[in-house]
């Protein structure tokens, strides 16, 4: 009997149809290539290795934040606090390293732990107190912005006593081994974060529940899964990743700038959306998010090389976001 059924299944197997997410990724990737082509024809400076490394360097912070936002957005939530959380974590690193003079690993751990803790607070407010994610993280965004200013005394904290701190984003481990590939550590961290996150999303229980929560939370709850705990874990992981972003930006500026951070959340969400992750949850990929973040940086960089005014760069980015999502909607209809 089994063999008959198996034969049945085989006769109805169709050639694998590309899923919508895959299409969106291909489209995003094609746009990235097209942008690169256009800019390299328009300006010979664009393809210079210094410039390309500059683009990657500029992607590092937004890319890591966008990866953090991807987790939350796949659950069907939204996180407006990633930008100010990043700053808060940078300030924590500054306090631990510069004010308290503790060793560098302690500062790194403290920043990531602070991010995870804040994430778990957001997650608890959302899962247990049932405050909508938009409101909960809007509140966290302002709360953390204020706390960062309070803790730092509204002044930047410099890392002059920790000379190695700038290594986190500036030096190049890869360049030390492969001199022709001087990719800065900040970019290396972005790739490591992206690969690990991608692994979490595709091959762990946490990843499975992240998608399931966004797909149908009630059905998951009625399957006997503790949805509240998993949601809190997702926000915690996302917060920890924001902590990593905080370390990269602090290292690049060699200081924790408490006034910085607001506005980063929107860039991060833009990257996630351009990369094909659905804001209604249930779908999304880290690769898409990285491509989305790259599109934004390439666009900014290319327009600057072509001497397009900063104001117009912002206008173009806005149009790209709308077009990217509209393309997705068109395809979903057909």
């Amino acid at each position: 009997m089994t063999t008959i059924v198996e034969k049945d299944i085989q006769t109805i197997v169709r050639p694998a149809v590309l899923s919508q997410g895959t299409w969106q990724k291909i489209l995003a990737f094609a746009s990235l290539i097209a942008l690169l082509a256009v800019f390299s024809i328009a300006s010979e400076n664009f393809l210079q290795s210094d410039n390309l490394i500059g683009i990657l360097q500029a992607t590092a912070v937004n890319g890591v934040l966008a990866v953090a936002a991807t987790f939350v957005i796949i659950t069907g939530g939204i996180d407006l606090s990633v930008g100010t959380l990043m700053t808060f974590c940078a300030v924590i690193a500054g306090v631990v390293l510069t004010y308290w003079g503790l060793p560098m690993p302690v500062g790194i751990l403290a920043a990531i732990a602070a991010g995870a803790l804040c994430g778990s607070v957001s997650g608890t407010i959302i899962a247990k107190m049932r405050v909508p994610p938009f409101i909960a993280t809007l509140g966290m965004m302002m709360l953390l912005k204020g706390l960062a200013l309070v803790i730092s005394g509204t002044r930047p904290i410099y890392f002059n006593d920790t000379p190695n701190f700038s290594m986190i984003s500036q030096e190049s481990l890869i360049g030390a081994v492969l001199p022709f590939l001087p990719i800065p550590n900040g970019v290396l961290i972005l790739f490591i974060v992206a690969i690990v996150s991608s692994l979490i999303l595709t091959s762990t229980a946490l990843g499975r529940y992240t998608f399931a929560l966004g797909s149908n939370e009630e059905a998951v709850r009625l399957s006997g899964v503790n949805t509240d705990s998993w949601k809190i874990i997702v926000y915690t992981v996302s917060g920890g990743i924001c902590g990593i972003a905080g370390l990269i930006i602090a290292s690049r500026l060699n200081s924790a700038q408490p006034a910085l951070g607001q506005g980063y959340e929107l860039d991060a969400i833009a990257a996630v959306v351009i990369g094909g992750t659905s804001l209604s949850g249930g779908r999304g990929t880290i690769l898409g998010t990285i491509i989305g973040a790259l599109i934004i940086s390439v666009l900014t960089n290319g327009l600057r090389i072509l001497s397009v005014a900063q104001e117009w760069q912002t206008v173009v980015t806005g149009i790209i976001i709308i077009l990217a999502v509209y393309a997705d909607i068109l395809r979903r209809k057909s």
Binding site: D8, R208, V225
Partner: protein, 514 residues
């Protein structure tokens, strides 16, 4: 006298279903005409066609002898036909008067400003006509459900309605409020309004209606005067279809262990003092009309909704079930009536859905998914349950209702649940797939799983159950052995309301009004 409304030979099909077959209906002015039938008999469809919500496929509708075409709810309003749905459609933040005249507000200052005073005066006039004490400026959201219903009726009257259709108007009302509603219905009747009254509640029909029309499977069965017809006659008109399905044999279960026992389950009005036992290998049918509280009982035992009180004993031990997580740990599974909302993550693939409740069994180092093991398990259930899908990686939303239902079943089998609640397991499933689900249920019971099957389809209950429990308005009104149970007997228990004791039932059957 020309009838106010005459409906002749009305046909209506929806994709896959013939909802109405030559349906008929007649309404006189000043008459309360009850429309009865089981769930899915076509009552609501017929009335929605009269109210212009659906278009008819064939047949004729006459209003005061004139053939009419009712193309939209607006056209129905112009003909003086209003419908009050079971679910009220009110804007809670607006006042009663604002709700009544929404879209038709009186204006002043050359139509630039709203004339709130004229609005409130017009609403007050309608309330006076209904002998209803209500401030037109009261915010609708803070009114009782009964008062909100009155606002809906006032809205219908503001269109100068000659025909008022009420779909289960007393579903959410208590007895005082019902009396108030009936007062207003009598008032309207005296003014010559024709009222169509859809309800399942026999005692109410006896009290308020002049005639009863019964529908079954989309067809007209007959019209009888209420006063001289017994409840039993009406019930047999409602269920009198021929039974073609074969009954399954009832095994002797007396030696089997009781795996689930609940005592005095309570939650507000929804669940009132429900107790029952379930044995290993048994299929206990839960019958009743929609809203009788069967789903509520299942969800409460499963920990999806909280309980006010009661005791749940699983395999002889008192259990504390506070969440679905606790229930699943005890081997209890619940298959919701609404698969898409509560049963499946339809955007995810077949394999992911099947292992959802037991993902922890498929982890290495407690973190990483064992992709191959998950796929193997999914495939084994796909072949075992004959789920038709191109692969285990197919998204569930692309599969048919029957196959989706099988995936929900596979989900709980993979979790190895011993006690399974099937809530309307064959809803929205075609006949062929239905029979497969029935076979599957029998196999599961034969394997020793204990099953509670909630169903609103009486033939299904009679065919599948080893024992039948009947609920009405949150109470368990009776238990029947499968052998010798009839649709009539079930229906009598399913309509046995708290207010209607055995005595009044007897006198009502005898022909006198209660």
């Amino acid at each position: 006298m020309t009838p106010l409304v005459t409906i002749m030979d009305l046909d209506k099909s929806f994709p896959g279903v013939r909802a109405l077959k030559k349906a008929r209906f007649e309404l006189f002015s000043g008459e309360v005409h009850a429309l009865m039938g089981e769930n899915g008999a076509g009552k609501s469809t017929l009335m929605k066609i009269l109210a212009g919500i659906y278009r008819k496929d064939a047949g004729e509708i006459l209003i005061e002898g004139e053939p009419v075409d009712i193309a939209s709810p607006r056209a129905a309003q112009d003909l003086g036909i209003s419908i009050i749905h079971q679910e009220l459609n009110l804007m809670n933040e607006l006042s009663a008067a604002q709700n009544i005249f929404i879209g038709r507000e009186p204006k002043r200052a050359m139509g630039l400003l709203l004339d709130e005073e004229a609005l409130n005066r017009a609403a007050a006039d309608i309330f006076a006509r209904m002998h209803l004490v209500l401030d037109p400026r009261a915010e609708v959201g803070v009114l009782t459900v009964a008062k909100q219903q009155m606002v809906e009726i006032a809205k219908a009257l503001s269109f100068r309605s000659k025909v008022l259709i009420m779909d289960e108007p007393t579903a959410a009302l208590n007895s005082t409020e019902i009396a108030e509603l009936f007062g207003i219905i009598r008032q309207l009747k005296a003014e010559g309004v024709g009222i169509v009254y859809i309800s399942h509640k026999m005692d109410e029909l006896k009290e308020i209606s002049d005639r009863v029309t019964v529908m079954r499977d989309g067809e007209y069965v007959g019209t009888v005067p209420t006063a001289s017809t017994s409840i039993d006659t009406i019930i047999s008109m409602m269920v009198g279809r021929s039974l073609t399905e074969k009954k399954t044999d009832v095994p002797d279960l007396s030696s089997h262990d009781v795996v689930l026992e609940v005592h005095n389950l309570r939650r507000s009005n929804a669940i009132q003092d429900v107790s029952f036992k379930l044995r290993k290998g048994e299929i206990l049918g839960f019958a009743g009309l929609m809203g009788a509280g069967r789903t509520e009982v299942a969800r409460a035992i499963f920990g999806a909704d909280p309980l006010d009180g009661g005791e749940i004993i699983v395999r002889g031990k008192t259990a504390t079930i506070r969440s679905p997580q606790d229930a699943v740990r005890l081997g209890i599974g619940y298959l919701s009536e609404d698969r898409k909302r509560f049963g499946l993550a339809t955007g995810m693939d077949v394999a992911a859905n099947i292992v959802m409740p037991c993902l922890s069994k498929f982890l290495s180092l407690k973190i990483f998914l064992k992709a191959q093991a998950i796929r193997d398990t999914a495939r084994s259930y796909i072949s075992q349950l004959r789920i038709k899908t191109p692969s285990d990686a197919q998204e569930v939303r692309f599969l048919s209702g029957g196959n989706q239902q099988k995936i929900v079943i596979a989900k709980w089998l993979a979790r190895d649940c011993e006690i399974l609640f099937f809530d309307e397991p064959t809803r929205g499933i075609d006949i062929g797939a239905k029979n497969e689900i029935y076979k599957l249920l029998n196999t599961l019971a034969a394997q020793g799983r204990a099953i509670v099957m909630i169903s609103s389809e009486l033939p299904e209950i009679l065919r599948m159950s080893h024992r039948i429990a009947v609920m009405c308005e949150g109470r368990l009104t009776g238990e029947l052995a499968a052998k010798g149970a009839t649709q009539e007997a079930i229906m009598r228990l399913a309509t046995q309301r708290h207010s209607l004791t055995a005595d009044t039932l007897k006198s009502a059957t005898g022909g006198s009004t209660t």
